[in-house]
Symmetry: C4
Subunit: 213 residues, 4 copies
């Protein structure tokens, strides 16, 4: 603690460990709250099986959102693993990312509730896609910020840094395309969102090793 | 970090500690959210005691699900305790397990709400049993994967590994039988699910020591 | 890991740290979920201030339950601080305690919703008191179990152990008395529950020091 | 453990690490529960886009509350970072702060639901402001208590301590002024609450460096 570093600025000096713990908490809670968005309308009465099966869009939305938040958590881990330290800007960007991730249960509910209704499903799928786009953009921004501000561990190979950057980027283009696709083929768009999440969750290298290895 | 290990694959390298913390978070949240599924219908009015007691299926479902998630948490601890390291496949299987565990509050609510209604209770008990079967299958798959991929600590005795494998397996057969039983005797099935969870929570050795020791 | 300690029994060997983390998670979630039980009836319309103030029983119930879970968390910390190790029985008793603590948001909602209604408020206050009695009994049982099974640190002074035992016990008698009191004077009982929680939260020694010291 | 320090008082001796973990848990949960307060009224039917956009006060309330809890979390980190140790009084004050923070989702819902209704919006904005004032007052009290009771690390520079004190204080005056402002210009008040949170989240020094640096 020197006089060059006044207390006001120190407010932003969060240890990397505590920032990770707080982030993990928000990821874990957001991913677990998703289930609260699944409801069966009252008065299902005798036809519980039908009523249960009728909620398939909610289950699909649950799976897609769970996979997406899981993928973001994995990417977040990938980023923090390379970090040497955090700075106030990183902590703030991270809070912004958490704000969008914690919001995801809401578009998930919209998707589950309105899927199958002609016009609303397009609206719901579009809102959902925009939320996913925002979340994955912020993951990408967070990583680029860390690289730009030299928060990355000095011993990280340039090759690694470039590969992680490359890996985080294509998601954005994919999301933008799927949002447009969703205006015409909502169900295909939802399945495509799942595919993007699985692409991040199941690394290509891993798949290749298991399928062809 | 060598060139044999590109950044893309490193995305999957989650430290065992952080994976445990995230998993514990999801277990703790899912187990605590169960209470939100208990509701007393509006307009209970003057007969609150009756209305409260009428919800006994919800309390039973709460206890069974709490015990089951508790048992899965214990088994998960048993597994991670033997782990030397994780690999990308383990982290993904673990995410899949968490997805099913985090889903359990939903079938728990169905069970609590529809128990006592002739036909829906059979549907609810069956859905509930399938969810428990899925969760415990994934615990078993997770452990077998860890053994198969040699993630287990080298100093773990073969005997121990065999015993843990043996202990995790019979639950699957039990769940399959109880699901069929539930089609005819729903209440008996629910009590049997509780018995399975307690069987895992209260180790036989411990019981024997306390009862006969 | 020796052959005297088979894998089946090892399932119960949870490190003290992980048990504390899981418990802290459940305590933190249960205490934070309490707010979800506060609702203002739809159609409050223009009289929002009146509608807001009319919910005073919900705010009171929130404060009492928050203070009680906070007190249980403090007591749980007091216990685990003296622990040298855990054993399978301790872990199971702890799960039972968490099951009751995680249930508290439900009686809290009953209390908030039905206070002020002649007959239901007696029912709600009694159910609430029984839940608090169950929770504090289990805290006491947990501590006695730890002492009896010699899980307490060898360097803990006998005096300390006796004092902690003494401190945890009177709560039970107090809760039993207040439950009976609540049949006649519900509001007084609720305030008495708050007083018990504050008695645990604010140690007498601390008060004396601040008031007279 | 000496005889000068009886077990009763030891109940209050929570390690700083565990108090931080519990606090971080409550902060993370409260901030993530905010999303559950956003709902679209049933029967939105074909006009989902309109219904979605009509909820803008809920999104605004979500952002303001997320930013405020985030700012309080940052300030809490700032405080605990300077702590050498905790004492029973600090733990209790901290519980009180957590009680108010965990309550914030409720006024957030009121704000989101009643904004745009002539008279109720003034009530909702005022209640919201009072809750924020209470939370930030308690942060300030917590810090002053720590300084007064000499819980601060001996190596903390006087300058730093004075600066942190100075930084935590103006918020209170600002909140008091905005509460009065909200009686006349509710929307301006909500935006001002956001500005206060951002003022804490984005340190002036940081902004200056990025904008002019």
């Amino acid at each position: 603690v020197t006089t060059e570093e006044p207390a006001g600025r120190r407010l932003g000096k969060i240890g990397s460990g505590r920032m990770e713990a707080f982030s993990d908490g928000v990821f874990a809670i957001a991913i677990t709250l998703l289930v609260l968005e699944i409801t069966i309308p009252e008065g299902a009465g005798e036809d519980l099986l039908d009523a249960f099966l009728d909620q398939w869009p909610s289950y699909l939305a649950y799976v897609v959102s769970f996979a997406t938040i899981g993928a973001i958590w994995l990417a977040h881990n990938g980023i923090t693993e390379y970090l040497d330290r955090t700075d106030p800007g990183f902590i703030r960007l991270n809070l912004l990312l958490l704000m969008v991730v914690a919001f995801l249960p809401f578009p998930t509910r919209l998707l589950g509730e309105h899927f199958g209704e002609q016009s609303p499903e397009r609206v719901a799928v579009t809102i959902y896609g925009l939320a996913l786009l925002a979340a994955s953009s912020l993951v990408s921004v967070l990583w680029r910020y860390a690289v730009h501000e030299k928060l990355v561990r000095p011993d990280a190979e340039d090759e690694d840094v470039r590969l992680l950057t490359k890996r985080l980027t294509p998601g954005l283009a994919a999301y933008a395309l799927i949002i447009i696709l969703g205006l015409f083929l909502p169900l295909v768009a939802v399945l495509a969102y799942l595919a993007v999440a699985l692409f991040f969750i199941v690394p290509v290298g891993l798949l290749r090793r298991h399928l062809f290895g």
